[in-house]
Symmetry: C2
Subunit: 526 residues, 2 copies
């Protein structure tokens, strides 16, 4: 595997004018070859100008053409073979089996989006035909559909080096709907990014698409990230990462002379509510399920449960002991990169230091800093103390959770009312529990993008009914999902054509429905 370490500015490989840096393997803290070149502001402008130029023709491509492109991207990623898995493993510490699964999800979602755009009904075509003799004024012919929004900036995330990175869900959504993409690669896995970028570039060439449809830049979010988001040609932003970074990009985008939408997925505690009968009936099963969900991927999922609420009493005490025992037995494991490891340990220290919080469990084996280890940690406190310390409701990214015991269901409702926005919330309860928890369910519905009963939040299906989003700070835009086919809606916008002669109309809106898509015509579904 030969890596060049350069930026992809359309079809050009460019050293990009910035400093060089190396990835550091979290597995053993060794720097990895080669050196990667950070892009400077000139490189940003070059990539954006190419994207702008490419948009003119790329937006005119048919759904079938873009479907073929996405499928080719998927094929080219698979063709990278084990090189991709090996490099991603070295750069992220994630096990090969996980990376193989994530690659499957990545190519799966490219193919799923290809199907959606080949079928074509996503444009949400609506037609109202003219009534020339209407009184007092004639009714014009009006035809409306969704069209691409323009060049999209995608920020690769560290915790999904494939599925939320160079050719991940944001890129796939944007390309599927006709938008050029400029990716800011995550600096923790630049080699993985280069390999995937190479695959996408091969697909661009094979499909004879304009060069500027896809670029990938290395460098710091603070410098080139902000420059990308504030570039006049940028029309939307996809981001998955920290609350601080996501908010900074949102603020920069909102302060532009012409603001643009930012889809930042940032922070979530994914609270779990354990109701009394369920806890009584299946304490061990719940503890095992939560152990799995808290430590899956070393706790580095945005849907990891970080807060677990129950009613004080014997059953919850017993559950806490069981979960503590299970988590103590979990071996420390390699986190994604040094920065995440440091942030995790800082978060642990802060939460553990809160007055009235007790340490229930810590992995019994010692973590090895050289292997960038994160150890499982479980804290406990009571509801009164939790409410006095809002810092306990801040996300700690890693295998960590806080147990909170509440005196009553009414108090649980109060705490739900006070929660910030979340990607998910989960209730475990029997039919009887759920009947009594109607208010809690209603309250949680306002706080989350996905509400789960008797399940676990980790494991996000890529399908049309998924909603991976939620109120701030889970995301910056509660109206959209970043996972599943509805994610395509982020990078499109409506346009209405009035009194267009047939020759000027797009196929989706022509008489006779040549694309055979679902359309609303004079109020009736076609």
């Amino acid at each position: 595997m030969n890596l060049h370490g350069k930026n992809f500015i359309g079809d050009q490989l460019a050293s990009g004018g910035g400093d060089t840096f190396r990835a550091v393997s979290p597995l053993d803290s060794t720097p990895l070859e080669p050196a990667f070149h950070a892009a400077d502001l000139k490189a940003v402008d070059a990539a954006m100008q190419l994207a702008e130029a490419a948009f003119t023709s790329y937006r005119q491509t048919t759904g079938a053409q873009r479907a073929a492109f996405l499928e080719r991207v998927a094929d080219e990623i698979m063709a990278l073979g084990d090189d991709l898995i090996q490099r991603a493993h070295r750069e992220t510490g994630l096990p090969e089996t996980r990376l193989i699964g994530e690659r499957g999800r990545t190519v799966g979602q490219l193919k799923q989006f290809a199907q959606v755009v080949r079928e074509g009904s996503w444009v949400d075509a609506r037609i109202d035909t003219a009534i020339p003799d209407r009184q007092p004024a004639p009714k014009p012919d009006l035809r409306r559909m969704l069209i691409p929004i323009g060049p999209v900036i995608v920020f690769g995330s560290s915790n999904f080096p494939l599925a939320f990175s160079v050719a991940g869900g944001d890129t796939a959504s944007a390309l599927a709907t006709g938008n050029p993409v400029v990716v800011k690669a995550h600096s923790a896995h630049p080699g993985t990014s280069e390999l995937v970028a190479t695959a996408v570039r091969r697909a661009v060439v094979a499909c004879e698409l304009p060069a500027g449809v896809f670029s990938v830049l290395h460098g710091s979010g603070k410098v080139i990230g902000t420059a990308l988001v504030t570039h006049p040609s940028a029309c939307a932003v996809g981001f998955t990462g920290s609350r601080v970074a996501g908010r900074a990009l949102f603020d920069a985008a909102s302060a532009r002379p012409a603001p643009i939408p930012v889809f930042a997925e940032m922070s979530s505690l994914n609270p779990i509510f354990l109701l009394p009968e369920a806890l009584q009936a299946q304490s061990t099963k719940l503890a095992e399920g939560l152990r799995n969900s808290i430590t899956l991927g070393v706790g580095q999922f945005c849907t990891k449960p970080g807060l677990i609420f129950g009613l004080s009493g014997v059953a919850f005490d017993q559950f806490q002991k069981t979960l503590a025992g299970l988590l103590a037995a979990v071996a420390p494991a390699t986190m994604l990169h040094g920065g995440i490891g440091e942030a995790f340990h800082q978060g642990l220290a802060q939460a553990s230091g809160v007055r009235g919080v007790s340490l229930l469990a810590r992995s019994s084996a010692a973590p090895d800093p050289k292997q960038t280890h994160g150890e499982a940690v479980l804290l406990a406190t009571d509801l009164a103390n939790f409410r006095q310390h809002p810092e306990l409701a801040e996300e700690v990214f890693g295998p960590f959770a806080v147990l909170v015991s509440a005196p009553s269901l009414a108090e649980l409702e109060e705490v739900a009312r006070g929660l910030e926005g979340q990607l998910t919330a989960t209730i475990h309860g029997t039919a009887q529990d759920l009947q009594q928890a109607g208010n809690l369910l209603q309250l949680l519905e306002r706080k989350v993008g996905r509400l789960i009963i008797n399940g676990f939040p980790t494991g996000v299906e890529v399908c049309s009914s998924m909603n991976h989003g939620g109120p701030y700070p889970a995301t910056t835009d509660v109206r959209f999902t970043s996972v599943g086919t509805a994610a395509l809606a982020r990078f499109v916008r409506p346009i209405c054509y009035q009194d267009f002669p047939p020759a000027q109309l797009p196929d989706a809106l022509k008489a006779g429905n040549p694309l055979g898509i679902r359309r609303l015509v004079n109020g009736q579904m076609e």
Copy 2:
């Protein structure tokens, strides 16, 4: 007609704690009785707390219940009878026939939205059923739909005292989809606002809805407007008005600890491109059409054409003369209020004072300041000069347009490329013209929400295919329309229910499709 001049805080009439003010009739510059009470920040908080409390139950109402409510609002508005038309006429100077038409549009859109929510498919239900034995992991049951976003702030606009005001499109969209509404009434027509608010309150009572579902406050946008938008319970904002005010609200909403969406419709020049053959063939008809469109409603429509481009030459010269003659013959007419009249005359003075701009026409009759008259004005310049003076591309709200002659189609394309976002753009051309103007059409498509061929931009149909929106500064969110049934999409957001027992699922997502709505079930439309 007895007006009390108070604020509607849910079911309470409150003097609101602020100063008092009177509307001034633009017809004769006389102050109108009674005095109206401006709300203070305490009143804002009271209305928002009521809205928050009402949301808990209002969001649970059925589509049929909300449809009945909207239809009752429509009936109560009609029951206000001529009192409403007379007061609106006194407060806005708009002719009675126009106001009767606007009332028809207002109740029509309430009834149309009622139909949409009664039918119910707007929730965009998507279901993927469980596959418990899937390998390597079971697939959960996932069901997704749209739900209301939460209390919505609506700013009444001055130019549509009924259709974009207390019970206008924004209010109707928000109420239809289950959101309480707090209206900031426009200070130019407080009596009209009070009458319509009374009608809505009657419907709230008749339909036994919670009091906080609807409040109306009087006062300044700078004070209570900002307080409403930054209130923790506010979840979205609808606004139609000036660019400065809209941007201020957007900035305030974006700077909140938890930002919220703002749908501000602000500024549009609605450029018209007259292509050579069309100009040759029907110069007089085009001039008459444009005269009508420029002066309709004294030019006080957001879709009024303010820029008219043509290719220099005999045909365009002849057209300019014809249009100038027609506009000179248009009598000055009463504008909406003194502030709009002043802004109009300031805009005129600024545009007329630009070097290289000539005055082609001005209403030959003299305007009467006491009657708040606006006179028709037509300026002309050439493309080179237009491009040197970006202030000519700023909206002047009133019966005013600038003619711009260009040396070539290529230059027209260049100017289109440089335009800011617009609600509409229009091309007049024969089949031959349009064939040659493919690039221009493509360029304009990126700049607008609605593209018109051989028509005029004024006259916005309320239907499912309408898109009344566009790139900034036409609006702050290009992804949504504020007119037509798609406007409902502004105040909703998705949620996903995972593994919910049937009893906990909303009807829209239950097995057997009890509501009989369109749903996507395992990838197939039901």
